[in-house]
């Protein structure tokens, strides 16, 4: 076991968090299929059953239309994890390119690019997402992924730039430069692979934030559109009917909060284990 993984495995909170995320992944990926075998799905309504509190047949209860909340929470988790992961990938690509080009180019280009990052950083990025979603008037998940990714890359760009600045004067980069390696080759073949570990760790830290963005937008009715379930829409429905059917908020709300908790623990654990400088 490498020293990094050994450090990680000694971090109890991170290990428990990783286990919990494994469980959530299992439930969201396989859960809906198992439920389908039992004759349950996320959208079929049982109006006669109506809103029922948690029971053996429906562990998290059912909503006002008689839909099983457990399956809806698993489906919502699938959407949340997919959006979080893909948005982090978008942010990874943009952030690495932006920070890498700025760091390697240096001088005025670097100053201008990083100044732009500072400016974006200070603006209320989520409001821009709301405006674009409303103007395009689409509720597609792909657009949501793109927009959340487009506002999540700023921290990563700063970190990648710092890494590139530290690496660009090293001997192997000078050697590559002296035999005529171009800008892109220097950056993507000789510099960034050496920073890959750090970059991946910080990209993992983006996932919980992106999931919260999705839930936030869906809660406001500007993200994933009903009847599809997402953790944001489930919490919104639960909050609206909290007084009469408290279990509508309890199940999805607690599971979402625990998942984000766990992702933060794992992210912090990975950072502490693999980026000891921080």
């Amino acid at each position: 076991m490498s020293p990094g993984w050994r450090r990680f495995s000694r971090n109890r909170a991170a290990v428990v968090g990783a286990g919990f995320i494994g469980l959530v992944l299992l439930l969201t990926l396989i859960g809906p299929m198992v439920a389908a075998g039992l004759g349950l799905d996320a959208t079929t309504q049982h109006v006669l059953l109506g809103p029922a509190p948690p029971s053996l047949a429906h562990p998290l209860g059912t909503d006002a239309l008689g839909r099983d909340l457990m399956v809806r929470t698993m489906e919502g988790g699938r959407v949340a994890l997919r959006v979080g992961l893909l948005a982090a990938v978008v942010a990874l690509v943009v952030g690495v390119t932006w920070g890498g080009v700025a760091g390697l180019a240096g001088g005025r280009i670097d100053a201008a690019m990083m100044r732009l990052v500072d400016v974006f950083y200070s603006l209320p990025q989520t409001v821009f997402v709301i405006v674009v979603m409303a103007v395009i008037s689409s509720r597609s998940e792909l657009l949501l992924v793109g927009l959340i990714g487009a506002i999540s890359w700023l921290t990563l760009a700063r970190i990648v730039r710092a890494q590139v600045l530290a690496l660009r004067a090293s001997d192997h980069v000078l050697a590559a430069r002296s035999v005529g390696a171009g800008f892109g080759r220097l950056l993507f073949r000789h510099i960034l692979p050496n920073a890959a570990g750090t970059i991946v760790v910080y990209a993992a830290l983006l996932i919980p934030g992106a999931m919260l963005q999705e839930a936030f937008l869906s809660f406001l009715g500007l993200g994933i559109a009903p009847p599809r379930a997402s953790w944001g829409t489930l919490v919104q429905e639960g909050a609206a009917q909290l007084v009469v059917y408290p279990w509508l908020l309890a199940g999805p709300g607690v599971i979402m909060a625990l998942t984000i908790f766990a992702l933060n623990f794992v992210g912090d654990g990975l950072r502490d284990a693999f980026d000891p400088k921080s």
């Binding site: 405006v131 500007l222 944001g232 909290l242 908020l249 909060a257 908790f261």
Partner: protein
């Protein structure tokens, strides 16, 4: 110092100009004409409406007109309500500003207090408790905490109103919901700053002079310990804006955030873009003020 202020202010104006340009072209790119309804307007009526909104002019003229209006504080007319955008903003601003002020005051007051206490009892129970609160604030979003507070504090215990924005008691739950995330971050920043300041040479010197612990802390250690908190308040402004959107929705507060959501779901593009520009002005100004405050507080930055 004055040169810095002027340079930063000029940069802020450029940023606002870029945001306004984005807002205009977002407005322009909105699908369909603003008056596409089920029932089409007849030719003459349509031309009249288009003239009223300057839609008969070329894009460049519209853009210049938009910027000209912006400089004069005029953001045009709402497309859904017989009101100017500026009037809608003026209507929502008092409630939003008050909510943000309460939340910030709550977060700074208790955050700094908790942070200092946590630093004093390092690795003690209170230190762990503030870390837990900080993590809670970051991980559990306001739209989960808010409804839970409504359920327990307002409906079950019946201590405060569940919604609206009229009595003094109605301020409590929205303030808690919005402020909790910042309380956690500020407590952690204060703790880190205090721990670091306590190890500085000038603090040791102050102790060596025989000053009491209270004097050392309040006159020497506190100021550098709070610098990270002050510089965090600028970026926090952007978060407060975003957070107030969801808090105003939960508690039915007639503020700017509620107006923004209404405009977004109702496709009232001029209101949407007007509030975006207004938010950015506020946030850019807050960042500018925070930066200048740090410069004023930090003797190392004086030249």
């Amino acid at each position: 110092m004055i040169a810095t202020v002027v340079r930063r202010a000029a940069a802020a104006v450029v940023v606002i100009f870029c945001v306004a340009t984005f807002a205009f072209f977002a407005l322009h790119a909105a699908p369909g004409g603003p008056f596409d309804r089920e029932r089409q307007l007849s030719g003459e009526a349509r031309r009249n409406v288009e003239r009223a909104y300057h839609l008969d002019q070329p894009v460049t003229a519209q853009y210049l007109g938009f910027l000209d209006g912006l400089v004069h504080g005029d953001l045009g007319w709402s497309m859904k309500r017989p009101q100017r955008v500026a009037a809608i903003i003026a209507e929502g601003l008092p409630a939003s500003a008050e909510l943000a002020a309460w939340a910030l005051a709550f977060a700074v007051f208790f955050g700094v207090g908790l942070g200092v206490v946590a630093a004093a009892g390092r690795d003690g129970p209170l230190d762990h408790a503030t870390r837990a609160v900080a993590l809670l604030g970051v991980s559990v979003p306001a739209f989960v905490i808010g409804p839970l507070l409504v359920d327990w504090v307002a409906l079950r215990l019946d201590l405060v109103p569940a919604a609206r924005w009229d009595t003094a008691a109605s301020r409590i739950l929205p303030t808690l919901t919005l402020g909790l995330a910042y309380l956690g971050v500020i407590a952690r920043l204060t703790r880190a700053g205090t721990v670091e300041a306590a190890q500085q040479d000038f603090v040791r010197t102050a102790r060596a002079k025989g000053l009491g612990e209270a004097t050392v802390f309040f006159k020497h250690a506190l100021r550098p310990a709070l610098l990270p908190v002050v510089s965090y308040l600028g970026p926090a402004a952007a978060g407060l804006v975003t957070g107030s959107i969801v808090v105003e929705t939960i508690f039915q507060i007639p503020g700017l955030g509620a107006a923004l959501v209404q405009a977004a779901t109702g496709r009232d593009y001029p209101v949407l873009c007007g509030i975006l520009v207004f938010y950015c002005v506020v946030v850019v100004a807050a960042n500018l003020i925070a930066d200048l405050a740090v410069a004023a507080l930090d003797p190392r930055s004086r030249s």
